[in-house]
């Protein structure tokens, strides 16, 4: 579904991603793990079109995305739930959801999709007229996921969805992600919360200093000695 081929990314003169290649298979949960500054968020931002790779290509459903501007990528069926949620904090919850369905089919089905999102997150329905900036962290994450779902994505990318949340909420968010995948959406997730991420990942890649150093099935990596010592503190 998504294929990254030999991708290099620079911030100005500094190279942060070195020759990264990986694949996301349909209906799977794929995870990118690594420490702070390993290049995980940069990879997602590049796929979303906010950064341009200087080398290599990004292919989505076999289409080369190099000439597709960021704002059109949502039409292709991919959406990013960005790091730190990035809600439109002065808009209401409902307006934020509307912002996820601005174009094409998603716009026509806005009503139905919104009902579905409210069913998934009843809390959002209660607070639909509330200004997004006044929501709690967990509710904001739900709104951000809801906004992404409003675009009826084939591929949903999550950048640190558990960031800053209490453990009980983290579990809830991971359950939601699992549910989204079970409903047929492909998931690409970036996390520092390695243990829980690997537990739900069908396939995982380990990034270190902007390079891919390891890959495998989620369960296998959970038992891998390097991953254990470097990321799980065992």
């Amino acid at each position: 579904m998504l294929e990254i081929r030999n991708m290099d990314v620079f911030y100005g003169d500094v190279q942060v991603i070195w020759d990264v290649s990986f694949q996301v298979k349909p209906r799977e949960v794929t995870a990118l793990i690594g420490t702070n500054g390993a290049g995980k968020s940069t990879t997602l931002k590049t796929i979303a079109g906010l950064l341009r790779p200087s080398n290599g290509g990004i292919f989505f459903n076999a289409e080369d995305l190099s000439t597709v501007p960021a704002f059109q990528r949502i039409d292709r069926g991919m959406v990013l739930c960005p790091e730190a949620r990035r809600l439109f904090i002065e808009m209401t919850v409902e307006e934020n959801l509307d912002m996820g369905s601005l174009r094409g089919r998603a716009k026509q089905q806005r009503r139905q999709t919104k009902d579905m999102v409210y069913e998934l997150f009843p809390r959002l329905k209660e607070r639909r007229r509330q200004i997004a900036g006044t929501l709690s962290g967990g509710e904001q994450q739900m709104a951000a996921i809801g906004r992404g779902l409003m675009s009826l994505p084939q591929l949903m990318m999550f950048d640190e969805p558990s960031l800053g949340l209490a453990p009980i909420l983290v579990r809830e968010i991971f359950e939601v992600i699992r549910k989204i995948q079970a409903d047929g959406t492909t998931v690409l997730i970036v996390e520092q919360n390695v243990k829980q991420t690997l537990a739900i990942a069908d396939r995982a890649y380990v990034l270190e200093h902007g390079r891919l150093v390891m890959q495998g099935r989620g369960q296998d990596l959970l038992n891998d000695p390097h991953v254990k010592s470097a990321y799980l503190g065992m």
Binding site: I74, E90, L102
Partner: protein
């Protein structure tokens, strides 16, 4: 009784002026919100619209209120052209002075003002309208009213049209997808891009929209004011004060800021002296910067949080 009458009359006049100020300020504030720059050619764009209305009146006897329908679209496209071909190229350049787009807008303003001087000379001009001095008195309608208040026709119509346009803008920003996209771009342009908003296009449209709004305000000013090529500068300052007073980029704040400024100027003019109105304007500007740096918008927000 006379004192009360003067006071109420001052309030009415301030409110009428404030409604128009709101419309002028809102145009600058939405550009500020989306582009993160202050457009210091704002008043000069208004001047252009005023001359358009003036020419339409003298050459074709088109009423200034109707010339909004021509001047606002013209200003919309003028704004788009300025943004696309002058401001955007400068935004892309990495320069030593980070705010050089703002300096560019000062330059645009100067060019417009001087072009107007070349074409129209620096004479003061007025459009003689048949209804310019038509006035309604309260006691004509309510015989036993304890105070007599008056309102002149052009002031009232100007106010009502300004309110109507402002309401229209509010509806556009609050209820339509494009309006929401503009607000989203102002709040977080990167997130807006991810959600499928063509951010570059929104910036261009917003600049056009802000110009069209101040263009409409220019036409509304014609029946109650006179024009000369340098008139823009003072309105750039007024809209700047309103934008600061309202809170940078806040539409509701700008509307309130415009009303407050109108009332304040009117009160200064009555109780301190006509010539002191600009002093009042800058006193409130400095007071806002010192005591309320977030503007009216920050007051609204703190209320909402409670």
């Amino acid at each position: 009784m006379i004192k009360l009458e003067i006071f109420l009359q001052t309030l009415i006049q301030g409110l009428l002026l404030g409604g128009l100020y709101s419309l002028i300020g809102v145009g600058m504030t939405i550009i500020m919100g989306v582009m993160k720059i202050i457009n210091l050619a704002h008043g000069e764009l208004m001047m252009v619209a005023m001359y358009i209305a003036y020419v339409l009146f003298t050459a074709f006897q088109i009423d200034p209120y109707f010339s909004i329908l021509i001047a606002a679209p013209v200003l919309f496209f003028l704004g788009i052209a300025l943004q696309k071909y002058l401001i955007n190229p400068v935004l892309r350049v990495e320069a030593i002075i980070p705010e050089n787009q703002v300096i560019l807008t000062v330059g645009i303003g100067m060019v417009l003002a001087n072009l107007a001087t070349i074409i129209f000379q620096s004479d003061y001009r007025q459009t003689p309208l048949s209804y310019a001095s038509k006035t309604w008195y309260l006691q004509d309608y309510w015989k036993s009213s304890p105070v007599d208040l008056s309102i002149t026709a052009p002031w009232l119509v100007t106010f009502l049209v300004a309110v109507l346009i402002t309401l229209g803008l509010w509806f556009f920003l609050a209820r339509t997808d494009m309006g929401k996209s503009i607000r989203a771009t102002a709040q977080d342009s990167e997130a807006a891009m991810i959600m499928g908003v063509n951010v570059d296009r929104m910036r261009v449209i917003t600049f056009g929209l802000g110009s069209a709004l101040v263009g409409a305000a220019g036409c509304l000013f014609i029946p109650i004011y006179y024009i000369y090529p340098d008139i823009g500068g003072q309105f750039t300052l007024i809209s700047f004060v309103i934008t600061i007073l309202g809170g940078l980029g806040s539409t509701v704040g700008a509307i309130l800021g415009g009303l407050v400024l109108g009332l304040f100027e009117s009160l200064t003019a009555t109780y301190v002296g006509m010539g002191w109105a600009p002093v009042g304007r800058f006193a409130i500007f400095v007071a806002a910067l010192v005591f309320l740096p977030g503007g009216m918008a920050s007051l609204l927000k703190s209320k909402r949080m409670k």
